[in-house]
Symmetry: C3
Subunit: 329 residues, 3 copies
């Protein structure tokens, strides 16, 4: 934990790399949310640009294809006025036998400033941050089943916008918790921000092996777990896993764990429904719920731009002036 902390923060305790929620502290998460708040208006105004990262070079280093995540980071970077390079590493020099570290050394030598890393292996962004030159910031855009911390932060931003605070909330995460980097990062962030009742709801085969380590309450029955929750976060069902033995049929999954309006009645009347997307309609969530008044799924996408702008700007030690002037919410 300590070591990770030292890797992510500089000597003054400011954000340097953003790899995982673990090892960060409550105040830093609040700072990210506040900075994102001050940047939200950028994407809503007519000229969607601030010069915070003008002349900086940000590399989208994607070892795993993802149009959606790549797009949000590219947009966030462009709205900060940075130059963006998209590198699909499968098609690049590593195919010619160059090692990953040699690829990094080369991008550093080109005076790139930031690597946004997506990789199928847990720990990849961490490994890259450990080996990067001192002037480089690394942002984890999803590594294996380990972490997806920018997704977790945009979820926290959405919850704060909806509920105003964290302490008195009950938040349930539903779906394949065991294999989900999103869930792992969400649980750490919710816990750090003071949510007292965090629930995970899933069939036994999709619960992490040591759920107690996360300090969460485990439910196998969706109806039971939804009782009186303030926020329910549905996870995307990776259909690939359906083919393994670990899951019932898609239809049966929907019967037991799919979120419908009827089941949602058990939650608080002002319950907020979230999903990291892309959604599988009729598998983990009914269209009526996804498109209904309690869903903030599209707001999550909007907030994703502001939160990623905030994290990128902070990692480069460039804060928007309003934040510096203490205009925080």
């Amino acid at each position: 934990m300590k070591k990770r902390n030292r890797l992510q923060l500089d000597e003054q305790g400011r954000l340097k790399h953003f790899l995982t929620i673990e090892g960060l502290n409550r105040q830093l998460l609040i700072d990210i949310l506040d900075t994102a708040e001050s940047l939200t208006s950028i994407s809503e105004q007519s000229i969607k640009k601030v010069p915070l990262l003008r002349g900086k070079t940000i590399v989208n280093l994607f070892f795993e294809a993802s149009t959606r995540t790549r797009t949000t980071f590219e947009l966030a970077a462009k709205r900060l006025s940075a130059d963006v390079l998209n590198i699909n590493i499968q098609a690049s020099a590593t195919a010619k036998g160059e090692t990953l570290l040699d690829t990094l050394r080369n991008l550093e030598a080109m005076h790139c400033d930031m690597f946004v890393v997506r990789h199928a292996d847990s720990g990849a962004a961490h490994f890259i941050a450990q080996h990067a030159a001192p002037h480089i910031s690394v942002i984890n855009a999803g590594d294996g089943q380990h972490a997806h911390p920018t997704q977790a932060m945009l979820d926290m931003f959405t919850i704060r916008r909806e509920k105003g605070e964290f302490h008195r909330l009950t938040v349930a995460i539903v779906g394949d918790i065991r294999h989900s980097r999103v869930a792992r990062s969400q649980i750490h962030a919710l816990s750090m921000l003071g949510v007292e009742d965090i629930r995970i709801i899933a069939p036994k085969t999709l619960i992490p092996t040591e759920p107690d380590a996360f300090g969460v309450h485990v439910f196998h029955d969706l109806r039971e777990g939804l009782r009186d929750v303030d926020v329910v976060i549905m996870l995307r069902l990776q259909k690939e896993r359906m083919r393994g033995a670990s899951l019932p049929s898609e239809h049966e999954y929907f019967q037991r764990y799919g979120l419908t309006e009827a089941k949602l009645e058990l939650a608080k009347p002002d319950v907020t429904v979230m999903h990291p997307g892309p959604i599988n309609r009729g598998v983990e969530i009914d269209s009526e719920v996804a498109d209904g008044p309690r869903s903030v799924i599209l707001q999550q996408v909007s907030h994703g731009i502001a939160v990623r702008m905030a994290i990128m700007a902070m990692a480069m030690q460039q804060r928007p002036p309003e934040t510096a002037e203490g205009e925080r919410r």
Copy 2:
């Protein structure tokens, strides 16, 4: 017609989406040509940039690959100072099972401003415009066999540049009219701008089923149809269709419908030769004609940038200052 009109124009009758020539009006087409005229000089000056769309995000949403069309829209957008996102939708989230509408909702939530849509299905751009959020403009960059209106407008721009006006012209379109979205949009635009003698020249199998609906004169003999024309527009022969029964051999096609200098003698002496490109040399057009003094094929490409800049700026309600000041031709 009325409905389409309402979709493409806002309440003040200004351009909102650009999906098809049908349902627009003569004055709006003239406005586009005038605006393009005032933007032509941008691409010719040393610094090829105007800040009309600075801070806007334009998404090239291509469901069908097309380097050439994508490139012209990307250049036009960049010269208007917009940020451009290229999304190849085959490789994106729809492959993960996300529906088209969910993809749209997500791009809207990211505060994108404009979708430039290319799709193999007729009506796709129209469908997207119908379902897009109010702040989004949709530009049709070619949908199935239905329409390719920016191509038609650059052709009109080229004709006006060459001939000065439309009323007294005879314009012939030669080739696979039946399956051509380009021809369909050209016929509507020529007619709306007042061209009285519009001819289509093709073998019977390539004539639309109801040519009368278009108010055109039908010819099956190229020599006959070319007599005294002011403008001849050759269409690209889709070689894929050759393999079907509907066409003779490539050689025979050239004999009967290929444009040569000899056949061109039948047209007016100052005839203008056009082609949307890319050309099949020796199939629908002889190299001598394509590269000859009456060909304006490359000028069409140049004009394509200015016309697309004009349409994008107008759809975003951003007109170049010169136009606003009434400096129209």
Copy 3:
């Protein structure tokens, strides 16, 4: 030679296209190095941008995939504030049967300003420059086994930075000289800049058929060739060739021609080790040498940005103000 000269230089002897070192002159190479020197600081400062090519459109026209080379040109162009279009020509209109020249004509008509060309055929960039419109500059980013002149110039820049001058140096190039466009361009540049002792070291099968034409000293024994050299440039071993009869096994190649610390003892004590990358560790170069204190392999990558910025700016007749003011080194 004369003809090539006329193609690469304009009537005032200024750079127009950059295709090959042959036919250029010593002063021009020095000018490139001096301009690159004045641009080096750009990539090191906080805002890595100069407006030298603002509003210009640069097309990366890659007929052969290369993430690394494409990336360096894209970064160089963006740091000069140009707009960049990446065109993968395999996937473009030529696949629809459009000829190369028609593709060029179209890009010219779009008012593009510069083509950066990579092609598997020797002479491709030359052919394109011969047929390009007068306002276009062509930069050769590697053509077949012919030339890779920007790589050679960044190598010259690195040597001058390390050694201060060229005249008294002994420079050895090691590896597959016969098939290497990099080696060919390096030999011409070294010779033009006054290096008197140029050595090539390779097995007989990898020596050019007429080495005397290059005015170099040929060695087949690495130890012998390395004796008292100031600079050693290792070439990448194209593993594809290993499968042919022309090369021994990878292991045997390393035994005979791989650069190790032990062999490097034979060179001058302050010898500089270079490699165009990407390196094959343990094939042509030992990791201890590649990562050691005498290696400048990563500096070469950094210098590659500045040198490419210089060449692009000069070909567009846009020099940085410092250079114009005579602040040359």
